[in-house]
C-alpha cells in the first residue's frame, strides 16, 4: 500500500508527504513542531534558507550516499531517506551556531531567556553556550546603537543575527518595504528606509518585524516578544471589522503586550498598530471610574445605586407621561453581540419601543438594506481569504490599507504580485498606486460611474447569460435602464473618461473570478443603498456569486457593527433581522421575551435627533458612541441632545457626548469583558476578558442587566455563554452557535443546528430565492443642488491608519504621538487659488458652520475636491458635514459636503471635556 503513495522516510521510517511539500514541513507534521532547529524560518514567511541550521542529510536510496540540504526550502523527492540527527548534522548545526555566537553580545546571551530568545534556545539545543565558542575574538558589531525614536518601534542591532526575518515580514506580510539590508557580507546590517530611524522612516508600526525577530534586535517598547509575561489570553481586536485575533500578555494582572497568533484564520500572525500597540488606553488615567449624575450643571460622582435609581425613575416617569416612544437607545458596535442583544431587548421588551439603533446607521446601513434587497442577506457573501483565489479585486469607496489594515495588506500583496485591481475613489488611496485601473470620480457620482460599468458590460456582451437566467430576476427592466444611459452625460458627471471605465468594466467582467469590496465611500451618500444594489448588479450580471474569490464584500467599519445589526440594534428589524412590523414575528418576540413588544418601527438615529428637537423624544441612552463628534452636523446633534430630559451616556472616557450627559456610566473596554464579536465576514469570534474591569467600571452588558432587573424584568446576570444560548434560540442564523464550540477561530454565520460554519453564502440560491436586479438613475445630491453655487468645493471625509473613529481610545495611546491632528488634503491648484500654502490653517465653511484645519497640499485629491478626517475633537469636522441622508437607509452623506475655503489664523477649539458642556460647538 505504501508504494502507491507519496512516501519518504524520516530516519528510516516511512511517512506520506504532500505534493510539493518542503522537507521541514514534512518533518514537522510527523515529528512535532521542532524536529530540527531553525533560525530564519517563521510561520508566516516564505522559506528563505539563510541560517542553514535546519539542514538534514538526504539519500535517494536506503543507506545510499547523502547530500546535505536545508530542509526549509528543499522539496521532498519520492522515496528519499531523510536523516535529521546524524553526527554530521549535529556538528554542522553546532558549528553554524558557534559562528553566530562569535558576533553576538555575550552579556546579552547570559540574560536572554531561552523561552523567548530563539537563538539562545537553538544554542542550548545544540549544546552550545558562549564558553563553547572556539574562535578568538574578531571583528564584531556589538557597537551598533539602539533606536528609540518611535513611540512603539525599537531596534538594538548589536544582537541582530541577519536572518532577514524582519525585512521579509515588512515585505511579505505588510508589504511596506521599510526595512532592508545595507552593505553586504559580514557587515551587512538592517536599516530602516534610507538609513533613517523608525520615526523618520515610512514605517507604519504594524509590528510584523518585531514579532518576527528571533532575538529581540528589532522589538517594540513593550518588548512583546521577549517580556516575561505570566499569562496570555486570546481575544479579538476592538478596532475594526477585520476581527484580528490577539494574544494579550499579562503580568501580575496588568496587560504588558499584544502579539498576533499565527494560527488565527483572520490575521495569520499579523495585525496593525492599533491592534498590536494601541492598548494602553485601557488603564489610562482619564478612564471613567465612577457613575456620575449632573447636579447643578456639573457632573458629580455617585454610587451605581444612585445612578440606576435616577435613571429608572426618570424612564418610568417619562414612559408613563409620554409613552415608551419618548425613550430611545443607541447601542454600541464596539460592544459584544451579547451586550447589543441585551440593549435592544431592554429597549424593546422593558421600555416597549423599537427606538433602538446603532452606529451601523451612520456607516453600513445602506449595505445591509441594499444587499437584503438584492440577495436577501445584508452581509458579505464571501470571506477575506478569498483574496487568495480571486483574479480581480474591485475596491470602491474604501481605503483598506488605512481603515482595515490587515485586509488592506492582503489586497496590496495580491495587487503587487499582479492580481488585477480596480479602485474607484475620489482620492488616490494607497492601493490606487498598485491598481491597474484607477477611476478617480467626483464625490457623489458612484451611481453614474457604476451604471457606466454596467453599460459597458452589456454593450460588450460580457454578461453571464446563464447565471442571469437561472438565478436572478428583474433583469429586463434593469437592462432597459442601462441601455438607455446617456454616456456623454455620465462621463461629464463622473469626471472619468469613458475609455477608462470601459477598460475597468471589461477587466471585472472577464476575470474568471472577480470580487468586490466596498466601504463607506459607497454607503455614506444620498444614493448609498442604490450604489450597494449596483455592486450587487455587477456581481450578478457577471455571475460572480457563490464560489471562492468572488462576491460582494462590504468592509465593515467598527469591530462589531455586523453583530450589532445581527442582534437587532436597529429600529425596523429585531434580533436576527426579523421584520418588527410583521404580526407573526411580533408574536414570536412577545413569546420569546415574555413581554409586550410594539409592532411599529422605531426611529433611526437621525430621526431620533429630529424627534428630540421637536420635543417628542425625552430620554436617550447612548452606549459607546460619540455622536457629538462623529455624527454629521454637530450643531444639530448638540441641539437635539440639549433638548432631552435625560441623556444617559455609557462610555470609557469623557467624550464630547458624555460631557453633555445627565447620567454617565463607566463601561468596560474589550479587554475587560467576555462575549463575541462578529467580523465583516460574518465570523463570530470569542472575546475573552484579559483583566477585570478597572475599579469603578462594569461590563456594559451587566449595566444593562442591572437596569433591566431594576425595572422588574427577569434577566439573569451577564455571562457570555448563557447569553449566547438565549441568542441562539431567537436569531435563526445563530442556531448552532455555542460558546464552548466556537474555538479559537470562531464560526461564520449562518451556523445551522449542526454547528457548521459558512465561508461563502448564496452558493446554490440566494437567501431571497432569486437575486434581484435594480436599476437606478443617478441623482445629484441635495447638498450640491442646494449649496453648490455658494460652496463650490466638495469635501469628503475619510480615516487615517493611526486613529479609530472619534479617537477616544487611540488618541490616548502612542498612536496620538504618531498622528497628532486632523489635516485637510487639498489640491495645490485649489490651494493656490485661495492663497493657501502647505501647513496654513484654513477655514472650511459649509452651510452648517465652519472649522479651522491645517492644510496639506497633495495630488491625492483632484482640484475641486478636498478630504479630511474627524478623529480629533479639537477640530470637530462634523460641524460642517451635511444633513443629507441616504434616501433609503438614512445613512448620513459624510462624503459630499459643499464648502468654501479661506486662509485663516485658525485657533483650535477648546475641548469640551476640559471646559464643560456649555462650550461645546461655540
Amino acid at each position: 500500500m505504501l508504494e502507491t503513495k507519496n512516501i519518504a522516510y524520516i530516519n528510516n521510517k516511512p511517512f506520506e508527504y504532500e505534493n510539493g511539500e518542503m522537507i521541514l514541513s514534512f518533518l514537522r507534521r510527523n515529528m512535532g513542531p521542532e524536529p530540527v532547529p531553525t533560525l530564519c524560518d517563521a510561520p508566516n514567511l516564505e522559506p528563505f534558507g539563510s541560517c542553514r541550521v535546519c539542514s538534514v542529510e538526504v539519500a535517494l536510496d536506503k543507506d545510499g550516499s547523502t547530500r546535505v540540504q536545508a530542509s526549509c526550502h528543499t522539496p521532498i523527492t519520492a522515496g528519499s531517506y531523510i536523516y535529521t540527527h546524524t553526527d554530521k548534522m549535529k556538528r554542522l548545526r553546532k558549528n553554524i551556531v558557534e559562528l553566530v555566537l562569535t558576533d553576538y553580545p555575550a552579556d546579552k546571551f547570559e540574560t536572554d531567556n531561552p523561552k523567548s530568545n530563539e537563538l539562545k534556545k537553538v544554542a542550548m539545543g545544540v549544546g552550545l553556550d558562549m564558553a563553547g565558542v572556539r574562535y578568538s575574538p574578531g571583528e564584531n558589531h556589538f557597537h551598533r546603537n539602539g533606536d528609540s525614536s518611535h513611540p512603539y518601534m525599537r531596534s538594538h542591532l548589536a544582537s541582530c543575527i541577519n536572518c532577514f526575518r524582519c525585512v521579509r515580514a515588512c515585505d511579505e506580510v505588510q508589504g511596506e518595504m521599510v526595512l532592508t539590508m545595507e552593505g553586504r557580507g559580514f557587515d551587512s546590517k538592517i536599516v530602516k528606509g534610507m538609513g533613517q530611524n523608525f520615526m523618520e522612516s515610512d514605517c507604519v508600526s504594524c509590528g510584523a518585524c518585531s514579532q518576527a525577530c528571533p532575538t529581540g534586535a528589532i522589538s517594540d517598547v513593550f518588548e512583546s516578544k521577549t517580556n516575561d509575561a505570566d499569562a496570555t489570553t486570546r481575544t479579538v481586536c476592538t478596532y475594526c471589522g477585520v476581527g484580528c485575533n490577539l494574544d494579550v500578555a499579562t503580568k501580575n494582572g496588568e496587560i504588558i503586550s499584544i502579539t498576533a497568533p499565527y494560527d488565527a484564520e483572520v490575521n495569520q500572525g499579523h495585525t496593525c498598530l492599533k491592534g498590536r500597540y494601541a492598548f494602553k488606553f485601557y488603564d489610562h488615567h482619564e478612564r471613567l471610574r465612577s457613575p456620575m449624575i449632573r447636579k447643578n450643571g456639573n457632573l458629580e460622582e455617585v454610587s451605581w445605586d444612585e445612578a440606576y435609581s435616577f435613571m429608572v425613575d426618570k424612564m418610568n416617569s417619562v414612559k408613563s407621561e409620554f409613552g415608551p416612544d419618548a425613550i430611545a437607545g443607541i447601542s454600541s458596535a464596539r460592544c459584544t453581540n451579547e451586550e447589543n442583544y441585551l440593549m435592544q431587548k431592554f429597549i424593546r421588551a422593558v421600555i416597549g419601543t423599537n427606538n433602538i439603533d446603532c452606529c451601523a446607521r451612520v456607516c453600513h446601513s445602506p449595505t445591509a438594506l441594499g444587499m437584503q434587497r438584492s440577495f436577501g442577506t445584508g452581509a458579505a457573501t464571501n470571506s477575506v481569504k478569498d483574496i487568495k483565489y480571486t483574479d480581480c479585486m474591485l475596491i470602491i469607496g474604501a481605503n483598506p490599507t488605512d481603515a482595515h489594515p490587515v485586509t488592506g495588506a492582503k489586497m496590496k500583496q495580491a495587487a503587487m504580485k499582479g492580481v488585477t485591481m480596480i479602485v474607484i475613489d475620489p482620492r488616490e488611496i494607497e492601493l490606487a498606486r498598485y491598481a491597474e485601473h484607477f477611476l478617480q470620480l467626483r464625490p457623489g457620482t458612484n451611481v453614474a460611474l457604476l451604471n457606466m460599468m454596467l453599460y459597458y458590460i452589456v454593450s460588450e456582451g460580457l454578461e453571464d447569460k446563464q447565471f442571469i437566467e437561472t438565478r436572478t430576476e428583474g433583469y429586463d427592466d434593469f437592462v432597459r435602464g442601462i441601455k438607455a444611459l446617456d454616456i456623454d452625460k455620465m462621463e461629464e458627471i463622473t469626471g472619468v473618461e469613458r475609455e477608462k471605465v470601459k477598460a475597468a468594466a471589461i477587466a471585472y467582467a472577464t476575470a474568471p473570478n472577480a470580487m468586490s469590496f466596498h466601504g463607506l465611500g459607497v454607503t455614506e451618500h444620498s444614493q448609498g443603498t442604490f450604489t450597494v444594489q449596483q455592486i450587487a448588479d455587477l456581481a450578478m450580471i457577471t455571475g460572480n456569486i457563490g464560489r471562492p474569490g468572488v462576491g460582494v464584500n462590504p468592509l465593515r467599519g467598527q469591530n462589531n457593527v455586523q453583530g450589532a445589526a445581527d442582534m437587532g440594534a436597529q429600529p425596523h428589524q429585531g434580533a436576527g433581522y426579523l421584520d418588527v412590523t410583521n404580526p407573526q414575528i411580533n408574536q414570536l418576540y412577545i413569546d420569546f421575551y415574555k413581554a409586550d413588544v410594539p409592532m411599529r418601527s422605531g426611529w433611526k438615529i437621525p430621526e431620533m435627533f429630529d424627534a428630540a428637537i421637536a420635543g417628542k423624544l425625552k430620554v436617550m441612552w447612548i452606549i459607546g458612541e460619540d455622536v457629538v463628534q462623529t455624527d454629521p452636523n454637530t450643531n444639530k446633534v448638540i441641539k437635539a441632545l440639549s433638548n432631552l430630559d435625560m441623556l444617559v451616556v455609557q462610555e470609557l472616557f469623557m467624550t464630547e457626548t458624555a460631557a453633555m450627559a445627565d447620567v454617565v456610566l463607566p463601561g468596560a473596554s474589550f479587554l475587560e469583558k467576555s462575549g463575541t464579536f462578529t467580523n465583516g465576514e460574518r465570523r463570530i469570534q470569542r472575546v475573552k476578558a484579559v483583566v477585570d474591569p478597572i475599579p469603578g467600571a462594569k461590563a456594559d452588558g451587566q449595566i444593562v442587566v442591572d437596569v433591566m432587573q431594576r425595572m422588574d424584568y427577569d434577566q439573569p446576570d451577564y455571562a457570555p455563554d448563557t447569553m449566547l444560548e438565549e441568542i441562539s434560540q431567537i436569531v435563526p442564523f445563530f442556531k448552532g452557535v455555542k460558546w464552548d464550540e466556537l474555538g479559537d477561530n470562531g464560526k461564520q454565520w449562518p451556523v445551522p443546528e449542526d454547528g457548521s460554519s459558512s465561508e461563502i453564502i448564496h452558493i446554490e440560491e440566494f437567501k431571497r430565492g432569486k437575486g434581484k436586479f435594480f436599476y437606478h438613475d443617478w441623482r445629484e445630491s441635495a447638498e450640491i443642488v442646494e449649496h453648490g453655487d455658494e460652496f463650490p468645493y466638495i469635501i469628503t471625509t475619510n480615516r487615517e491608519l493611526e486613529h479609530y473613529n472619534c479617537g477616544a481610545m487611540t488618541r490616548r495611546t502612542g498612536n496620538g504621538e504618531i498622528l497628532t491632528e486632523d489635516i485637510l488634503l487639498i489640491n495645490p491648484k485649489d490651494a493656490a487659488d485661495n492663497g493657501i500654502k502647505d501647513g496654513d490653517m484654513t477655514c472650511v465653511i459649509s452651510a452648517r458652520g465652519k472649522v479651522d484645519i491645517k492644510a496639506r497640499l497633495t495630488d491625492e485629491v483632484k482640484p475641486g475636491v478636498m478630504s479630511t478626517t474627524f478623529h480629533f475633537p479639537e477640530i470637530m469636522v462634523n460641524i460642517i458635514t451635511s444633513d443629507v441622508h441616504d434616501s433609503e437607509a438614512k445613512c448620513p452623506e459624510y462624503k459630499v459636503v459643499a464648502v468654501k475655503i479661506r486662509k485663516s489664523k485658525g485657533e483650535k477649539r477648546i475641548l469640551a471635556e476640559e471646559h464643560g458642556k456649555e462650550l461645546v460647538g461655540v
Binding site: L39, E46, P47, F48, G49, S50, C51, R52, V53, S55, V68, A70, H73, P75, R91, L92, N95, I96, L99, V100, T102, R134, Y135, S136, G138, E139, I161, N162, F164, R168, C170, D171, E172, G175, E176, M177, V178, L179, T180, M181, E182, G183, R184, G185, F186, D187, S188, V191, K192, G193, M194, G195, S201, D202, Q413, M416, K417, G418, R433, Y434
Partner: protein, 550 residues
C-alpha cells in the same frame, strides 16, 4: 528575493530597467544620491529602503564609492604578480587616496598592473603612461594577448559579421525551433559557467513552461580572477554570443535577451552595444527578425561590482534592482526567473558555441571532446606563463600540453596553479601531468575545471597568504545571506591573518570544522566552493603550512 519586488520591477521590465537606471545615476558621482533613489523607488512603487539597500550592496554604487576615480585591480593574478603596490603608488602621485578604489578583477591577468580609470581599463605598461591617461589624450593602450588553439576553432575563429549572422540565423529560422533544440541536444554541450549542466535540459524545461513572457539572460558577469575568456568573447566575438542568445530565445519562445556584463569590463559593454546596433541595421533585432513573426530584443546591462552576481539567481535579482542575494531553489529560473517569468540563464562561452553547433550540426560538435565533456574549452593563462593568453583546446586534451606547450611553461618557479577561479582547486605543479582539460578529469582528481582560468602561485609567494587572500575574497564578496559564508569567511580570514601576525596559531580541528560548515552548509557555491582550494593546499602544502597551526 522578494516576489513582490520581482513583480513590481517586472511591470517596467527590461525596457525601463530599474537596475540600469540606478547604475546610470551612480556614474555621476560614484554613488546615486538619496533623493534619486527615493524617486526611483516611488516610480517603481517600492519602499525607498529597496533602492537604498540595493545601491549599498555594490562596490560601484555604495556611498563609500563617492568620488572614486581610479580602481586598482586586486584580483589573484595581480596579487601574486606583486605589481599592484606600484600601480597604487603611481596613481597616488595624481589622485587623492579617497579617489583610488579597487576592482576585482579586470581580466588583465596576462600582463597585470591592471587598473581602471574613467571607464577604461589599463594594464601592463599603461601605468607608465598615467599622465597621458589622466590628461585624456586617449592613448592607444589596449592590451594584447595571445589567442591560439590546437584544435577546431569553435570560438576563436575569425569574428562573425552581421551579414554572416543574418545568413546563419536565417537557416535557424528556416529549420525551426525543434531542429535548433535538437542540435543543442545532440551537441551534448554542457554549461561553461562552472556547474557543467547540459544546456538542452534548461532550454527544454523553459520551452515547456506556458508563459506569455520568457527571457534569455546571458551571464557575462565573469568574476573569477584569472579568467578573461568571456571578456575575449564579448569584445572579440560579440556576434557569437548574441547569436547564441537569440537562438535560445527562438527555441524557448522568449522575446528578450539580457546580457548582464560586469561593470569591470567597460570595453565589453561598449563592443556588445555596438554589435547589437550592427544587428539592428541588418534587420536582425527587434520586431520581425528577418521578416518572420519572431521578434527579439537585446538589452545590454552593465553590472556594478559584485562577484556574487555571477551566481544565476543573484544575477536575476540584480537585473530586477533587488539586492543580489542568492535565492533558494526551487523555483528554478527556467520556471520562475527574471521578473518571475521562465528564464534561461547561460554563460557567455556556452552561448558562443551555438553558431558553430547550428552551422556544423550538433552531432559534429559532440564528436569534439570527450563523451561526457563535449566540445572545446577556452583556458586563460596568467603572466607567469611564457606565453600568457587565451587558448582554445579540445575537452579531454592534455593539461600538461596546455601548460608546457601552448603556454610555453613558466617564466619562474611555480609551486601550484589555481584553476577555475577562487572557488577552484589548487593543483600542485607535480599533478599537472595527471590531468586532462575536462570536467571529469579535474573532479576525479579532487580539483575543479570550472571556468578554467589559471592563476599561477609562484614558489616565492607564501601559500598562507594565498589562502588568506581566498578567504578575504569570499568575505568581501559574500552576499551576507547565509550564515556559514557571511560569518565563516570572515572568521577564516581572521584565523589565517592572526596565525601569520603573531596572533594565535590555527586550531586544525576548528579550521576543519569551518571548512566543512562552509562546504556543506552554504547556500551557494561561493561559500560552498571556497574550501576546495584551501583543502588542496592543506593536503599538498602541509610542509609549508604546518607552522601556522597549533
Amino acid at each position: 528575493m522578494s516576489e513582490n519586488l520581482s513583480a513590481l520591477s517586472g511591470r517596467k521590465g527590461l525596457e525601463n530597467n530599474l537596475f540600469e537606471r540606478m547604475v546610470e545615476n551612480a556614474k555621476l558621482t560614484g554613488t546615486p544620491e538619496n533623493p534619486k533613489l527615493k524617486a526611483l523607488a516611488e516610480e517603481y512603487l517600492m519602499g525607498d529602503a529597496v533602492t537604498y539597500g540595493t545601491a549599498s550592496f555594490y562596490d560601484f554604487m555604495k556611498k563609500e564609492h563617492e568620488g572614486v576615480k581610479a580602481h586598482v585591480c586586486n584580483g589573484s593574478a595581480c596579487l601574486v604578480a606583486g605589481t599592484q603596490a606600484k600601480v597604487k603608488e603611481k596613481l597616488s602621485n595624481f589622485l587623492k587616496p579617497e579617489e583610488i578604489g579597487y576592482m576585482c578583477c579586470l581580466g588583465r591577468c596576462h600582463e597585470n598592473s591592471a587598473f581602471n580609470y574613467s571607464e577604461t581599463n589599463y594594464s601592463g605598461d599603461a601605468i607608465n603612461h598615467l599622465d597621458e591617461i589622466l590628461s585624456n589624450s586617449n592613448p592607444a593602450l589596449a592590451d594584447n594577448y595571445t589567442v591560439d588553439s590546437n584544435c577546431e576553432r569553435v570560438l576563436t575563429d575569425l569574428p562573425m559579421t552581421a551579414e554572416e549572422y543574418k545568413k546563419l540565423f536565417a537557416k535557424v529560422l528556416e529549420k525551426g525551433r525543434d531542429w535548433a533544440l535538437e542540435q543543442i541536444k545532440d551537441s551534448k554541450i554542457r554549461g561553461r559557467g562552472g556547474a557543467g549542466f547540459p544546456m538542452h535540459f534548461k532550454l527544454n524545461a523553459c520551452r515547456n513552461e506556458s508563459s506569455s513572457q520568457k527571457f534569455i539572460v546571458c551571464n557575462a558577469d565573469e568574476g573569477d580572477p584569472g579568467a578573461y575568456s568571456d571578456r575575449y568573447l564579448l569584445e572579440m566575438q560579440p556576434m557569437l554570443v548574441l547569436f547564441g542568445i537569440m537562438t535560445a530565445g527562438y527555441i524557448v519562445g522568449a522575446n528578450y535577451g539580457a546580457v548582464y556584463i560586469r561593470g569591470e569590463y567597460p570595453e565589453s559593454v561598449q563592443v556588445m552595444s555596438e554589435a547589437v546596433a550592427a544587428l539592428d541595421s541588418v534587420g536582425m533585432h527587434g520586431e520581425n527578425i528577418n521578416g518572420t513573426d519572431f521578434s527579439f530584443k537585446f538589452k545590454i546591462i552593465e553590472g556594478a561590482g559584485a562577484y556574487i552576481c555571477g551566481e544565476e539567481t543573484a544575477l536575476l535579482s540584480s537585473l530586477e534592482g533587488q539586492r543580489p542575494e542568492v535565492r533558494v531553489r526551487p523555483p528554478f529560473p527556467a520556471q520562475k526567473g527574471l521578473f518571475d517569468k521562465p528564464t534561461i540563464v547561460n554563460n557567455v562561452e556556452t552561448l558562443a558555441a551555438v553558431p558553430w553547433i547550428v552551422k556544423n550540426g550538433g552531432e559534429t560538435y559532440s564528436k569534439l571532446g570527450t563523451e561526457k565533456s563535449s566540445g572545446t574549452k577556452l583556458v586563460c593563462l596568467d603572466s607567469y606563463f611564457n606565453k600568457p593568453g587565451m587558448y582554445e583546446v579540445e575537452m579531454g586534451s592534455s593539461f600538461k600540453n596546455l601548460v608546457y606547450e601552448l603556454g610555453g611553461g613558466f617564466k619562474e618557479p611555480v609551486k601550484a596553479v589555481h584553476v577555475g577561479g577562487p572557488l577552484g582547486g589548487i593543483v600542485p605543479t607535480h599533478k599537472i601531468d595527471e590531468l586532462n582539460v575536462d570536467f571529469e578529469s579535474f573532479a576525479n582528481a579532487g580539483f575543479l575545471l570550472g571556468h578554467a582560468g589559471i592563476v599561477s602561485v609562484p614558489e616565492k609567494f607564501p601559500m598562507i597568504k594565498y589562502l588568506e587572500h581566498l578567504f578575504e575574497f569570499t568575505a568581501d564578496e559574500s552576499c551576507g545571506k547565509c550564515f556559514p559564508c557571511s560569518i565563516g569567511s570572515t572568521r577564516g580570514k581572521e584565523m589565517m591573518e592572526k596565525s601569520q601576525n603573531g596572533g594565535p596559531k590555527m586550531d586544525r580541528e576548528l579550521l576543519n570544522d569551518l571548512l566543512e560548515t562552509l562546504e556543506i552548509g552554504s547556500l551557494c557555491a561561493l561559500g560552498g566552493g571556497l574550501p576546495l582550494g584551501i583543502k588542496n593546499a592543506l593536503e599538498y602544502f602541509d610542509d609549508e603550512l604546518k607552522q601556522y597551526f597549533k
